[in-house]
């Protein structure tokens, strides 16, 4: 595998720049796994990955091909909130323009219009996604399986007390066959909008759901180079991992 990941510059199909949003403050529940999977699979497909970080106060990097962002604790969300609002227009322009993105849990919520806490105070989101979230006393925890048209079953683990409802401008990622997802009522999980995938699932999401990872890579490569040619990847463990994970109790 060491040979596979060391794609020499001369044979590379091109460089893809992956930006991690707020890895310092929003990194709970294995969010690094998503960035790592981007880095490795880009390289295994024959491209050259460039992993970038954006933290509070940094200059926002130009020419970003893929964006990934994760969840945080209350304290982490407070730290990034003002900075994220300042970046709202840039992120919105990128998302509307078709930049592939994956946002999980906390950043999924903040990519919506607002988060209304249990006590009724409102945290403003950046409105990239037509969703809003309400804090509840109920914590949705456990293994989740989501049936999706685009990626087949998406597997992961949810742990959140914010419940998200979707507006008419977006579609859900899929329908849960195990677990709750966006909220405890409508059976929907996550959001699809343009090339943005938003979800409550960690686990981490991308390792056990390579179809989502490859969608982000394919979209980025096609946008940047006009075409995409995948490599042949050794996915022998992921099939077994998915099979076993799907059988685990809630």
């Amino acid at each position: 595998m060491t040979d596979q990941s060391a794609v020499r510059e001369s044979t590379s199909k091109g460089t893809l720049r992956v930006l991690q949003l707020y890895p310092r403050d929003m990194n709970i529940y294995g969010d690094w796994g998503n960035a790592l999977v981007m880095q490795r699979r880009i390289s295994w497909h024959g491209y050259t990955p460039e992993l970038l970080e954006y933290n509070v106060g940094d200059p926002f990097p130009a020419d970003v091909d893929i964006i990934v962002g994760g969840g945080g604790q209350d304290s982490g969300q407070l730290v990034i909130q003002a900075d994220l609002l300042e970046r709202a227009q840039e992120l919105k322009t990128l998302a509307d323009g078709g930049t592939p993105m994956l946002v999980i849990c906390g950043l999924y919520q903040l990519f919506g219009h607002r988060f209304v806490t249990r006590t009724g105070s409102e945290i403003k989101g950046i409105g990239v996604l037509d969703v809003e979230t309400h804090g509840t006393d109920e914590r949705l925890i456990g293994n989740v399986v989501v049936a999706t048209d685009e990626f087949g079953d998406v597997l992961g683990y949810e742990n959140h007390s914010g419940q998200t409802t979707l507006g008419s401008g977006v579609a859900p990622l899929g329908t849960t066959t195990k677990g709750m997802g966006n909220n405890s009522t409508d059976g929907h999980e996550g959001v699809r909008y343009r090339n943005v995938v938003a979800s409550y699932l960690h686990g981490s999401l991308l390792p056990k759901n390579p179809a989502v990872a490859d969608f982000l890579i394919k979209t980025a490569a096609t946008r940047k180079f006009g075409s995409y040619s995948p490599g042949s990847l050794d996915d022998r463990y992921v099939a077994k991992a998915r099979e076993l994970a799907a059988r685990r109790p809630r």
Partner: protein, 430 residues
């Protein structure tokens, strides 16, 4: 009513022991008929109650404090962890009190799970507490690590005399700012060792990256761990530096030894005993890890180390503390309730250190999650079998003549010990 509660409880304890039952029933009986039993009995202790809490290392640290104080001639009451904390303490008390309910001990040293903290400290305000760390552990149960920090802060607030805090863990250190009347004592690390003790905020931040601030200035620590050798450790306290042999393995255990030493010395200084430095150090050098917290067994003439891993920081420390060189390695990952059901944490551990030797065997309900994790870190994988018994047998067969090491989650460790007890001597779990 309580005249009868102790004899009755003791009787239930005897009967349930004879029938091979656990400790919960007698504790339950006493709780029901005499709810004040635990509080009343503990309040008779001349030097009060000390609690040890934090995410990692409570059990072994509690054991260390107990053995340190016993080396100074104190009679110490302590608990074993169980599913229900107060009931477990009540049951343990029943075993130790006489028929009239008197406890023959000078002090109680109790391991207190964060989840049970509120309930316990509201009933029995401890005289001392020792707060080790706040790490990501079983978030699916406690929600968030900041909430765990709040629970530890509550223990500190209810403590009447001395609060012992980890200077190097920002979430623990900040608890000092909220305290009003208590004395605060610190244990700390030499700067040179800081990098080997990632705190939870460093997990994904490059060295030198910003970490939420601990305190504006670094407080002086009672005991500082200055260095760790292969089987020795160097501590500094009272302005002197001492090196001692250690039976405990793993740098994180040894850092907790500094914590235990800090608390034990504070208890002595407060009048419980005359602290004799030589006997304290001798006792420290002889402490062995608590059950299930990593142990070394012998299988077919070769050492086999079990290393418990239950959260990313613990796994990282385990990998740092037990270098892979020369060892055959197995990893066993279960996701039962006691292990934590969310597998995300495996992605917060870097496995580069296993790249040279690879991992010979993977097992457990989430063996393939682990395989995937190692694949993404370019670590060579031998065999994968989710069933623990055959995986263990094939690991032992294939690594004949080599020392072996197994990293395992809690319930995987229980299963492995059960299998190993068929072929070697393993301490009996009580």
């Amino acid at each position: 009513m309580f005249y009868f509660s102790v004899p009755l409880g003791k009787l239930v304890r005897k009967v349930s022991r004879l029938r091979g039952g656990g400790s919960a029933l007698p504790g339950l009986v006493v709780e029901k008929i005499d709810p004040g039993f635990m509080q009343r009995t503990l309040s008779t202790l001349p030097h009060g109650v000390a609690v040890v809490s934090g995410t990692n290392g409570k059990t072994t640290t509690t054991k260390m404090v107990v053995e340190l104080l016993e080396s100074q001639g104190l009679k110490v009451f302590t608990n074993r962890t169980g599913s229900n904390f107060t009931r477990g303490v009540a049951a343990a008390l029943l075993g130790d009190v006489d028929w009239r309910g008197r406890l023959d001990a000078d002090i109680a040293i109790l391991e207190l799970d964060e989840a049970h903290a509120v309930h316990f400290v509201n009933r029995v305000p401890p005289r001392y507490c020792l707060l080790l760390n706040v790490l990501r552990d079983q978030l699916d149960r406690f929600g968030e690590i900041d909430k765990t920090a709040d629970l530890l802060a509550l223990i500190a607030a209810k403590t009447t005399d001395t609060v012992v805090l980890n200077r190097e863990d920002p979430r623990v250190a900040r608890i000092a700012e909220q305290l009003t009347g208590q004395d605060v004592a610190w244990f700390g690390l030499d700067d040179s060792l800081l990098s080997t003790f990632p705190n939870d905020d460093d997990l994904r931040t490059a060295p030198g990256g910003a970490v939420p601030a601990g305190l504006p200035s670094t407080p002086d620590a009672d005991v500082v761990l200055r260095g760790v050798g292969a089987d020795s450790a160097t501590f500094e306290y009272d302005g002197a530096t001492v090196t001692t042999q250690m039976k405990l393995r793993g740098v994180y255990n040894i850092f907790n030894a500094a914590a235990a030493l800090t608390l034990a010395r504070r208890i002595c200084v407060a009048g419980a005993a005359k602290a004799n430095q030589d006997t304290l150090l001798t006792a420290l050098s002889q402490v062995e890890p608590a059950f299930g917290r990593g142990e070394s067994l012998t299988v077919e003439g070769q050492p086999l180390d079990l290393v418990l891993v239950k959260n990313p920081s613990g796994f990282r420390l385990g990998l740092k503390s037990f270098p892979a060189g020369g060892y055959a390695t197995m990893v066993a990952i279960n996701d039962n309730y006691a292990d934590g059901r969310d597998m995300s944490w495996l992605w917060d551990v870097e496995f580069d250190s296993l790249r040279d030797g690879g991992v010979d065997q993977l097992t457990g309900a989430r063996a393939y999650d682990m395989a995937l994790r190692l694949q993404y870190d370019d670590v060579r994988i031998g065999a994968v079998d989710p069933e623990i018994a055959p995986a263990l047998a094939s690991f032992i067969r294939s690594a004949q003549g080599k020392p072996k090491r197994i990293f395992c989650t809690y319930t995987a460790m229980l299963a492995i010990r059960r299998e190993l007890s068929k072929i070697t001597t393993v301490e009996v779990v009580s």
